[in-house]
């Protein structure tokens, strides 16, 4: 065995029911390197890493750590071998302080000497360049602080192998840069780091090598400096792909939704939307950009009838005339043809019920249809099958509880359900949050198809590059008011970035 290898995996297999999550995976990670693990949603990356961290036990295969064959049956075993995993969903106790979380489960003097613990943590913080107050409670922390706690927790336990599952999905660009600096410090310290991410530019800028999984199987490992975004995507997908959003010029554009002087106030009395006016047109995609929390969510919810509107009007233009939406219930608005699909940070938080199966979740939108007290299951089932088929949702069957699906597949169902109802106005927020690149493009295509069908699409996105390529016009929100509406074909990223932080009256 090569002792330069921190980890070696040989023919690892793991099944869930009849589905192979991992099949004959052979992989090695060296000391002092950052390895990116790449793959589409549901390709088995997280499952594989969970076997290293003792959450799952492999059905078959061997694991070598530092050249010695090991059996990892619990997270405790993993710690003892120096493996630390930072999960996508943080495993922290909300009501504990950072320090308490860090020493959780560790042996030591039975009566806790908190001062000594805090001191030791502060040493680690200094060594690797973190920023953290060890006595702060987790519930008072930002996402990036929580992540820092997780990483320090592993280092405190003497981890030499660090696994990070989509660490940047919830971070701002600045926080991401800081994380990467810390990770590079650790690599230089001789630690082996595995990072799972969907963001190809991060893979290219951070890692030394890239390993690719596809549908539970190992495809290969390449040196990062020899890889490009396109070559990696092709390895992931297994066929030639073109990373182009086929935006067609809008045809037959006409007014669908007119919003005038919309002002909303939340429960705490804070004005979330200030005097917002714009029009959404059929056959066009209106992108909405803004720093997180600038009123994107409130705007979409106001149109969908889920917000208290203090002032203003929302008019829906139809062949039969104009309909005022303010004052109507959310169900009435939906029946008129205004659909909202909102993907929250935790995906399952809004719009889907984890314990119900795919078909039942699709039925949540149509359970009121038909006569009599019994629900009609036939149509939702057909619709579900269509969604599964068209969006390539990986699932054992449509009667699988949705929480058993991987994150990306859950999202496909969420977005697919809204589109399948053939709305006149489709509002979608963060539709590709956490999705791999190929699935993201499937979603972009779906949205484009809707636009070509004559639907007025409102798309709230985080990625400005995508917004510029996908949308026809972009509305920029800043602090709850519109700082401008620009043509996506002629604007630059910098211009929008500026408008996101500065109120401007320039409207083209």
């Amino acid at each position: 065995m090569d002792t330069n290898n921190a980890i070696e995996l040989k023919n690892i297999c793991k099944r869930f029911g009849d589905v192979f999550a991992n099949k004959n995976i052979t992989l090695e990670v060296r000391k002092g390197e950052i390895l990116s693990l790449l793959g589409e949603n549901g390709s088995g990356k997280t499952t594989l890493m969970n076997m290293l961290s003792g959450i799952y036990f492999p059905d078959d295969g061997q694991i070598f750590i530092d050249g010695k064959e090991v059996s990892i049956t619990s997270p405790k075993d993993a710690y003892e071998l120096g493996i630390g995993m930072i999960h996508q969903h943080f495993k922290l106790i909300e009501t504990f302080t950072a320090a308490e979380n860090i020493i959780l489960g560790l042996p030591g003097k039975e009566v806790i000497q908190m001062n000594a613990v805090v001191e030791k943590i502060n040493e680690l913080i200094k060594k690797y360049g973190f920023e953290l107050d060890p006595t702060k409670k987790i519930y008072d922390m930002s996402v990036s602080e929580k992540q820092t706690v997780e990483i320090i927790k592993m280092l405190y336990r003497g981890a030499n192998i660090l696994i990070l599952d989509e660490p940047t999905a919830v971070l701002t660009p600045q926080e991401t840069d800081r994380l990467f600096d810390v990770l590079r410090n650790m690599r230089n310290d001789g630690k082996a780091i595995i990072i799972i991410t969907h963001k190809l530019h991060e893979v290219l800028s951070l890692s030394d090598r890239v390993a690719v999984l596809r549908k539970g199987e190992y495809i290969g490992t390449v040196l990062t400096k020899e890889a490009t975004e396109l070559s990696l995507t092709e390895m992931m997908v297994g066929e030639k792909v073109s990373l182009n959003i086929g935006r067609k010029p809008p045809v037959n554009v006409h007014k669908k939704l007119s919003i005038k002087n919309l002002t909303c106030v939340d429960k705490a009395g804070v004005t979330t939307l200030k005097n917002v006016s714009f029009e959404a047109n059929a056959g066009e995609i209106l992108g909405i950009a803004g720093i997180a929390g600038s009123g994107q969510k409130e705007l979409l919810e106001a149109v969908a009838g889920l917000q208290n509107i203090q002032e203003g009007s929302i008019v829906f233009h139809d062949d039969k005339g104009d309909i005022e939406l303010v004052g109507k219930t959310s169900t009435e608005i939906r029946n008129i043809g205004v659909a909202l699909s909102f993907v929250p940070e935790d995906r399952l938080g809004m719009g889907l019920v984890g314990n119900m199966d795919l078909a039942d979740n699709v039925m949540l939108r149509s359970y009121m249809d038909g006569k009599g007290i019994a629900v009609n299951r036939k149509k939702p089932r057909q619709k579900t099958e269509k969604i599964v088929d068209e969006l390539k949702v990986v699932t054992p069957s449509i009667s699988t509880p949705i929480r058993r699906l991987s994150g990306g597949n859950v999202q496909k169902v969420l977005v697919g359900r809204e589109i399948s109802n053939a709305p006149a106005v489709l509002m979608t927020a963060y539709a590709v949050r956490g999705l791999d690149i190929n699935t993201s493009y499937i979603i972009y295509n779906l949205i484009n198809e809707q636009k070509e069908k004559g639907v007025a699409v409102i798309y709230v996105g985080e990625d400005l590059d995508v917004l510029l390529e996908l949308a026809d016009r972009i509305l920029v929100l800043c602090g709850g008011s519109v700082s401008g509406i620009v043509d996506a074909r002629t604007t630059t990223k910098e211009q929008i970035g500026l408008m996101m932080t500065k109120h401007s009256t320039e409207v083209m």
């Binding site: 799952y56 106790i93 959780l104 489960g105 058993r404």
Partner: protein, 335 residues
């Protein structure tokens, strides 16, 4: 105004405080046990039943001993009672643990079934013992019961009112208070306590931190059951003086579960809470409204609990909420 004065006069008497304490101690045991259980994420609604089991267990142990020797020694009786009582309660705790932790049966259903079982089990054995006891028609372990009531020498007589209010009880009373304080210290100052609280808050996170979740749940639930069982033992021995009364323990088990909420899952806080509950529980006897008002006054502890629940949820203070995974079973590979 007059009526309030009369009530206050009756309440601020030594006997009222003594009675409040004697009523409160079994509830304190129950609450302390339930707090330990809930801190591991298990909502054991079987506690009322387990307290019956602990009570009858003590009686069985003492009765068997007193029947088997010609001249029973009170302290040997006490030990027999303690051992069998703890054993019976432990069995209750093990049944609950096996069903909810290993088999992951719904905790509420299991707990309620266990309460139904425990109450019936206690009444059945109590009735059987009375039959065996023969002519008196009532089982009695007088010697053991009196030993349980032994007061601390000197302190209980020489200090006047202080003796009456503070030192006029048996050893189980003082043990319950020491235990509650010790467990508060354990939960908040030791590593095992930290780990246990983590298991109750988020077993997946605790598991990922290398804590043996299943073991912690078993140990906490069974220890909690044994502690609660002592409440039943206290009632049978110190309160009743070593005899059995069918359904005599009444709804004190449910009061214990309510007290857990009042104490905000901190054992030391349950100490004053148990005396408050004990006082409210017997308040009807001190108000000049007659027995007709009895049941309304007995509601008071629950009213207080609801008020505390309302206040603590309005304040939304994250540190004084129920353990987050309370009532949920844990399975590592579940997604």
């Amino acid at each position: 105004m007059n009526i309030i004065l009369i009530i206050l006069k009756k309440i601020f008497t030594v006997t009222f405080i003594q009675k409040a304490v004697t009523q409160g101690i079994p509830i304190l045991y129950g609450a302390t046990g339930e707090i330990m259980t809930e801190r591991s994420g298990n909502l054991n609604l079987g506690i009322p039943g387990i307290m019956y089991m602990g009570g009858i267990g003590g009686l069985v142990g003492a009765f068997a001993y007193e029947q088997s020797v010609a001249v029973p020694n009170g302290w040997v009786g006490v030990i027999c009672a303690l051992v069998v009582s703890m054993l019976f309660a432990l069995i209750g705790g093990l049944i609950y643990s096996f069903l909810t932790i290993t088999l992951r049966v719904n905790q509420n259903v299991t707990g309620l079934a266990l309460t139904t079982f425990g109450v019936g089990f206690g009444n059945f054995l109590g009735g059987s013992l009375s039959r065996i006891a023969g002519s008196a028609g009532q089982v009695s372990v007088y010697i053991t019961g009196q030993t349980f009531r032994t007061k601390i020498p000197f302190l209980s007589t020489k200090l006047g009112v202080v003796s009456d209010i503070v030192f006029s009880y048996g050893f189980l009373t003082y043990f319950s208070i020491v235990l509650a304080i010790f467990l508060s210290w354990f939960l908040f100052k030791t590593r095992k306590g930290l780990n246990l609280r983590a298991v109750g808050e988020d077993p997946a996170a605790a598991d990922a931190a290398g804590i043996n979740v299943i073991r912690y749940k078993y140990v906490a639930t069974c220890t909690g059951a044994v502690i609660s069982g002592l409440g039943g033992l206290y009632f049978v021995m110190e309160y009743l003086g070593g005899t059995w009364q069918n359904n005599g323990f009444g709804d004190r088990g449910w009061l214990a579960i309510a007290l857990v909420i009042l104490a905000l899952w901190k054992p030391a806080r349950a100490i004053w809470g148990c005396i408050l509950f004990g006082g409210l529980y017997i308040l009807f006897a001190y108000v000049p409204f007659g027995d007709a008002m009895q049941e309304i006054f007995k509601m008071l502890p629950y009213v207080v609990t609801i008020v505390v629940l309302v206040i603590s949820s309005v304040r939304e203070k994250k540190d004084s909420q129920a353990p987050k995974s309370l009532g949920l079973s844990y399975f590592r590979e579940d997604r």
